[in-house]
């Protein structure tokens, strides 16, 4: 066969030719994808896409403007290159290619985004469970239009205030266990008005001041509200905050839905990037093996691939945490190696996959794990050695750090545990739940923060409580518990001195 191209300038015909070949090879590896919608955009447009967290359209908010200004400044100063691509979990899967890229880069991006990420979106259980790729774009359209309408009716400032508060609590607007119904924009718009009315009635019912017939029973019923602690704070507020207007509840709902949409992405960064990187690497190598691209193409591709998967050491000035591309890519490569060419060690550690069909094993891993469990399951001793991982124990009360595990026989399990924990959202984010509402008193809302390993909240929490207060409308108390004992108490408005008197 002859080369698809020998030049580095791209044309639409060449892009299509590459896409055709990459698609053919991807299918031979059983990559199941949504249809691709590949959009060529300019650098300026890429900056816009960046600023809106990659969403093709979103409601207006100053914080996106802030992102944009940062990106623009860094880009114009040359401090930052733009990403080669952005890909959106939707069906069809939208991928942006930047026009400045050379042809080998475009091919890399097509393989990476349109076949790597795309198949991950379609196959991984978290995405399958939590997001509805076919509806997201429509929902974005709905939310943008709804918020615009609110701005017209209630003024930009008021809408912005609600959004600010919601954004502060966005990470606590997610159902972690309960599977949400898929969102459908049409239905959403249709039901929205109806919901407004009903919701308002229900809220009013909760706060009813007219005495009920059986006082005692009513009291008992209301003593513990909510009857169980609630982890989805935004949801709780949307449904129960006494003073919110219907449109404000709807905005909370929109932010919640967005948070829910991004929730799988936050839990699968290593896997998602690793998977996409593994596949662009494999697909482009297959192109080369088939004689469809030349050495020049491969050199350019490898240069950029090597940069992407580089992992600087902890003491390097370039160190910025563990590179998810590097970890993910190497893990998938490693799984493939364990399947094809297991060592004695691998056979002991991974008896179930050593020597199995690599493609099937890889697909299984992609479909059924998230970062935390993926690392727990598949991080091999060899990789721990390759990365020279070590665990550092930082105790506030000790003047020194302790190295409590390194890449040796004794340390493998511990390192694997701790690394997996680092990607566990329930460890990464403080555990805060809605604890109780003083229904019959001052209507204050009490949250309980359960400390893990005595790690305190960052100073931001004071600000966040203020936002919570503006949504709830009455006093907020945030109690911090450690080992069952109350260790700290924050309130908004801050009336601590009054309490002590």
């Amino acid at each position: 066969m002859s080369y698809i191209s020998t030049d580095s300038e791209w044309t639409f015909e060449l892009l299509e030719a590459y896409d055709k070949e990459i698609k053919r090879i991807a299918e031979s590896f059983k990559l199941d994808t949504y249809p691709n919608q590949i959009e060529v955009i300019s650098a300026e447009q890429m900056m816009d896409a960046y600023a809106s967290v990659g969403m093709p359209l979103g409601y207006h908010h100053w914080s996106y403007g802030k992102h944009f200004l940062t990106t623009q400044k860094n880009y114009q100063r040359g401090a930052m290159g733009l990403a080669y691509e952005i890909v959106i979990n939707s069906s069809p899967c939208i991928a942006y290619l930047m026009e400045e890229n050379t042809l080998p880069m475009q091919a890399l991006v097509i393989a990476h985004a349109c076949y790597g990420h795309n198949s991950f979106f379609k196959g991984n259980y978290l995405f399958k469970t939590w997001t509805d790729a076919s509806a997201i774009v429509d929902y974005l359209v709905f939310s943008r239009a709804y918020i615009k309408k609110c701005e017209e009716r209630h003024g930009i400032e008021d809408v912005e205030k609600v959004l600010d508060s919601c954004h502060a609590l966005m990470n606590y607007g997610v159902d972690r266990y309960k599977r949400p119904k898929p969102i459908s924009a049409e239905e959403e718009a249709h039901r929205q008005e109806e919901r407004e009315n009903i919701l308002q009635q229900q809220v009013n019912d909760l706060w009813r001041t007219i005495p009920k017939g059986h006082e005692e029973e009513a009291e008992k019923m209301q003593l513990n509200f909510p009857s169980e602690p609630q982890e989805n704070i935004l949801y709780f507020i949307e449904k129960n905050a006494p003073l919110l207007k219907p449109w404000q509840r709807e905005i909370i709902r929109i932010v919640r839905k967005m948070a829910q949409y991004f929730y799988p992405q936050r839990q699968t960064q290593v896997m998602n990037e690793g998977w996409a990187t593994f596949w662009h690497y494999t697909l482009l190598h297959t192109l080369y093996d088939e004689g469809l691209v030349n050495e020049g193409f491969m050199l350019e591709f490898l240069t950029s691939h090597t940069n992407v998967v580089a992992q600087p050491a902890f003491d390097s000035p370039n160190y910025n945490g563990i590179n998810p591309y590097a970890l993910g890519f190497n893990m998938f490569q490693d799984i493939k190696r364990i399947c094809q060419d297991p060592s004695q060690e691998d056979k002991e550690w991974f008896p179930d996959i050593a020597g199995s069909d690599w493609l099937e094993t890889l697909h299984f891993a992609m479909k059924n794990f998230k970062d935390e469990s993926f690392i727990q399951q598949y991080l091999s001793p060899k990789l721990i050695r390759d990365f020279k991982l070590f665990s550092l124990y930082d105790d506030e009360d000790s003047p020194k750090y302790l190295i409590d595990a390194i890449h040796n026989e004794k340390g493998y399990r511990m390192i694997r545990d701790k690394l997996s924990q680092q990607y566990d959202l329930s460890y990464r984010e403080p555990n805060i739940q809605v604890w109780s509402v003083d229904l019959r008193g001052d209507r204050s809302l009490t949250l309980r923060h359960t400390m893990q390993s005595n790690i305190p909240l960052s100073d931001d929490s004071t600000e966040v409580i203020k936002h919570l207060h503006s949504l709830w409308g009455f006093d907020i108390h945030l109690e911090t518990y450690s080992n069952g004992e109350k260790v700290k108490d924050q309130s908004c408005p801050n009336n601590k001195t009054d309490d002590e008197e």
Partner: protein, 432 residues
């Protein structure tokens, strides 16, 4: 299936609204930065953007997250010499007991959020303080007046630009071109006809004669059909617009620098000069600035000295006016230069000097200048100088304006006349 879509031609300013929202939210900060920039910049240097810095703390979006402290395990790559059980000193500076500021974890360290605003935005922030009418804002921040110049002739245009001479000449040429051959033939046929008629014998001649007369009539009708004036004969005068800063101007900045003028007052004064300068810049090719400061005696100084050096002592305003008059006589003859003057003061003056000022102005200066503006920056009652000037205002309504100023937004009133003239399109009594 893959679809390729070329989106490059779509708008690139999707983020514009969000950017504006951001600017709106941090207006106070931006204004503060702009006004600091004004104080740092020279009057002549207003036409560029500015870097705005806002403390990151203010633009920070809070979220709930773990702070430092407690007991934490962290995994790092790239071990070199550590072994399990090693103890390492914590880096200092993390804040003593509670600090566990591990270098890698602290992430971004920038204390300021900074970005750039464009020249237009910069000017808009200046204007906002000055409470300028929109028309004036527009005329100051956009390219200004145009002069139309002839640039030959073109085939398309509006009727009022029709060049009759050119069009008729074209028509004539076309008529010649289209009918010359036919006319020549007609001429020869007519000649032949006459010959044949003078010799009318023979059947053959009769037949020929008939043919000729037919041909003649065809030719005549063809010639007649050539239009006298056709649409493609029309030529229009081409008018091209050139932006015209018209000519040269000199701007005198006069300021009292006696002890009573504080830095705040000077900063308000600076805005006053900036506004006049921006105005002049739109109207004139070349602007020279003359800075005259005075206390009991006047002196010509650089801009730097003008705004930032302090002097003490009493105040004799006429000294500055006298100096200005001398400089005009000396360097800026009124026939060649458009003279503008802006005077700022806190109103203090020696009592017997004020009438002298008023005489100086009305007899020597005002006849020479385009515009003389005076601001008194004081929250107190008017002083002698004000009353002396007040009479001039009615006497020279087009050339003299004055106002008492407490805040920057009061400045515009002084220029109202001036800008009104400009927006009407012509500067009255302008000298080339």
């Amino acid at each position: 299936m893959s679809y390729f879509i070329d989106r490059r031609l779509n708008g690139k300013n999707k983020s514009l609204v969000n950017r504006q929202r951001f600017m709106q939210r941090y207006k106070k900060h931006i204004k503060q930065a702009v006004s600091e920039a004004i104080n740092k910049r020279s009057i002549t240097d207003m036409e560029r953007g500015e870097k705005i810095s806002i403390p990151s703390q203010d633009t920070h979006e809070p979220i709930i997250s773990h702070g430092q402290g407690g007991q934490q395990h962290r995994i790092y790559p790239g071990n070199k010499q550590f072994d399990a059980g090693d103890r390492i000193d914590k880096p200092k500076g993390g804040g003593g007991g509670s600090g566990s500021g591990k270098a890698g974890n602290s992430g971004e360290g920038e204390d300021e959020f900074s970005f750039y605003i464009s020249k237009e935005e910069f000017l808009n922030y200046i204007f906002e303080d000055l409470a300028l009418p929109n028309m004036v804002k527009k005329s100051l921040s956009t390219q200004d007046e145009f002069e139309t110049k002839h640039a030959g002739f073109v085939t398309e245009g509006t009727a009022n630009n029709l060049s009759i001479v050119r069009s008729m000449r074209n028509a004539h040429a076309r008529r010649i071109a289209l009918s010359a051959g036919k006319k020549r033939k007609l001429k020869s046929l007519l000649l032949e006809q006459r010959e044949l008629e003078s010799n009318p014998d023979g059947f053959k001649n009769q037949a020929r004669l008939l043919a000729i007369s037919e041909e003649i009539s065809i030719l005549r009708s063809r010639i007649k059909k050539v239009p006298y004036l056709d649409t493609f004969d029309l030529r229009y005068r081409s008018q091209v617009k050139y932006p015209v800063p018209s000519s040269k101007a000199v701007m005198f900045c006069l300021m009292d620098v006696s002890g009573s003028m504080t830095q705040d007052v000077k900063e308000i004064a600076k805005r006053f000069y900036i506004l006049l300068y921006l105005f002049l810049q739109k109207s004139y090719d070349k602007i020279e600035l003359v800075f005259i400061r005075h206390h009991t005696s006047a002196k010509e100084v650089t801009e730097e000295e003008f705004f930032y050096s302090r002097e003490t002592g009493g105040t004799i305003v006429s000294s500055a006016l006298k100096l200005m008059h001398e400089i005009v006589q000396d360097r800026y003859s009124a026939s060649e230069w458009n003279i503008y003057a802006a005077q700022a003061s806190d109103g203090d003056n020696w009592d017997d000097d004020s009438p002298r000022c008023s005489t100086l102005l009305s007899q020597k200066i005002l006849p020479e200048v385009q515009y003389f503006s005076y601001i008194e920056i004081t929250p107190q009652d008017h002083q002698a100088l004000w009353h002396a000037y007040k009479a001039l205002e009615t006497e020279w309504p087009n050339e003299f304006a004055m106002a008492q100023i407490r805040e920057p937004k009061d400045i515009y009133t002084v220029f109202r006349e001036l800008f009104a003239k400009q927006t009407k399109g012509s500067l009255k009594g302008e000298r080339a």
